[in-house]
Symmetry: none
Subunit: 218 residues, 4 copies
């Protein structure tokens, strides 16, 4: 064991570091293979091979393929989840477009979007994890929309639950579309979303900054 207490020694922990690297290499390898060939069609051996590791090493880091999958998912749950919608002042369409673009750009880096539908169907436990996260996210969106509605910014006669569901659905689909590499005109999508949520005159006021929230009882 090298002396780790010398002044100026490079403060790395070679073993743990290498371990961690291998673990990550395996996860990366698995991810790419899952995306290429699907979860079922990917074998532990292949995962190990692409990570430049022996088959047995796979089982030092993960009890099995499923466990690796769970790690992989948990790592990236936030990326998978549709973004958090929070309305600030300003042009809502531009605002949203910007956020959509940023979110899906990040998403694309972790190509999991492509993977999820398959996984969710076959694995009840995983589905539960993701569903929980989704429900949590939807609650937040719902609360936000409720607040907006109370402020009189939204269509008054539409059920907020339905609206939330529609938004999330579109965001998820957008995510899939994105992961398929199709290009997306975020400006246009933002326009549709806004039109779905807000009556035209509200949008106009928001854009002009003349929106008077004081009129709204809270």
């Amino acid at each position: 064991m090298p002396n780790e207490n010398l002044v100026g020694d490079f403060p790395t922990f070679p073993k743990q570091q290498r371990s961690k690297l291998k673990r990550e290499a395996l996860i990366e390898s698995a991810k790419s293979l899952f995306i290429e060939k699907g979860y079922e069609h990917t074998t532990a051996k292949e995962i190990a091979a692409r990570a430049h590791v022996a088959t047995g090493t796979f089982y030092r880091y993960f009890s099995d393929k499923r466990q690796l999958l769970m790690s992989l998912i948990e790592n990236q749950l936030e990326d998978i989840m549709p973004l958090d919608l929070e309305w600030k002042s300003g042009d809502p369409e531009k605002l949203l477009a910007g956020r959509l673009e940023m979110h899906y750009h990040k998403m694309n880096e972790s190509n999991l979007g492509k993977l999820m539908p398959e996984l969710l169907i076959r694995d009840a436990e995983l589905a539960a994890v993701v569903k929980d996260a989704k429900v949590h996210m939807q609650k937040k969106v719902l609360q936000h929309l409720e607040k907006l509605q109370r402020k009189g910014l939204m269509w008054p006669d539409i059920d907020i639950g339905t609206l939330t569901w529609c938004l999330q659905s579109l965001l998820e689909k957008l995510q899939v579309r994105n992961s398929e590499g199709l290009d997306v005109d975020y400006q246009q999508f933002a326009k549709v979303f806004c039109r779905t949520l807000f009556p035209p005159e509200i949008i106009k006021q928001m854009k002009e900054g003349t929106l008077n929230e004081r009129n709204v009882t809270r």
Copy 2:
């Protein structure tokens, strides 16, 4: 096996008939198993067993599990596809709500919705088939929306392609939701859809039947 050549035997082509029955039994069996356990986890033996035929018989009717899947999909592509949107006169929300309900009721009977995401990911050829159908469907919707836009019924400043995509996406998601057994308030969904497509005053006119299409250049 009883003697089938007795006088008085049913005079129609019993062989072909029985063949067809077996083929269908196999498809039905496969469908239910695919839905229950997923495509990968269903074995040829099981499919045969549930269809009350021998394993080998499976291979007389289908060259392989995948081929059966393709048959199954093709049979039911229309059910899987989001419905065809055609706007007639009258209250558009009621109209749409009715059609949605009918469509998803039909869909639910062929529970394939649940199956598709898994399949599409793994099987490029299948994905291509489905994508073709989807594109075809989208084209029709697109044309219809273009006509509506030209008539001045729709938001003038929204890209029709984006809109079409949003509609289809929502319809697909609705289909999934449906197949998960969650109940759906079609009335509300119809409202959201309509609001996404049409400006409020147009909706009002449609409902009142005072819409004057003649103003629209064609």
Copy 3:
């Protein structure tokens, strides 16, 4: 392929028959391999190979190696068990020698003797099965010896339980020796056994036929 519907055809049931043959071939193959290399060192693949059958076929007939073992054991439990001792009139040494020889000859054909010690140690369930059979056998021997003792034929001051255990132990060891191919002088063994059981004057009377059992209260 021979026509099996000819008059005079041998009334066999080809399928079941072949199945049975294969099952037996597998059992035989397993037995010989277990004896050659031990249970743990024998693989399902090898068993199948020696039975001229594919690996998968093994699993059609047995859920796994252990199950095959159980079948094998149950088939041959009687052969494994030490013989049943019943004393009739006449020269007890000759009588016993004859029975020993016959028994161990039979035993040798099913070479399981060699196999048992290993198996019993590792497999609690199997050990239980064999132990049951052993206990049953010992009870019978015990009863027999008790009867002999009541008749005054045996050493009066020796515990019958201990004696039974010694006899059975020697028989089992003899079985092992036998299975190892060492030759055995049954005459001499019979002499030892008899001397262990009966006082010398009783043996003498038995040989002379002058034994008077009427003196014995029952």
Copy 4:
């Protein structure tokens, strides 16, 4: 690791000492594991772990699992071997009972008895080692019995070889019974053994101390 070169440190060869300790720890660990789970089911990793050393260290001390086994066996061969029978004057039954009890008590502490049958079957070389020891032991017993026979103490008409074999067999079985934790009435066993060896009147004389060995030609 603490500095081991401090003044006042124990001046003996600490390295060799520690080595020896490790070796022994490994042997002890292996022994207990072999007894608990059997030789085949014990892994090198487990042995190392229970001995509080790294897996690799195992291979510094033993070329392989089997070699460790051999060491272990050789260490304890005497305990495993049935005891040495030497007849002195006095009550032979009491004498024998005492020795049996002592011997099997010692045996029980090194629980190897349980292990042997499994090992002997699989491992020809080990079997040979043990067999050698056994043969050697039997020779000694044989010589002793021959002496006794020449002195006229034993049944004159029984083959000494057979007798030796029977004695050894019973001793081995007793050992197994012992290792199974069943209780044993050594008094009774001693009685059976003596009766197997000596005619009743000799036993009587031995007990009474009236045995006149001088009558015997040597």
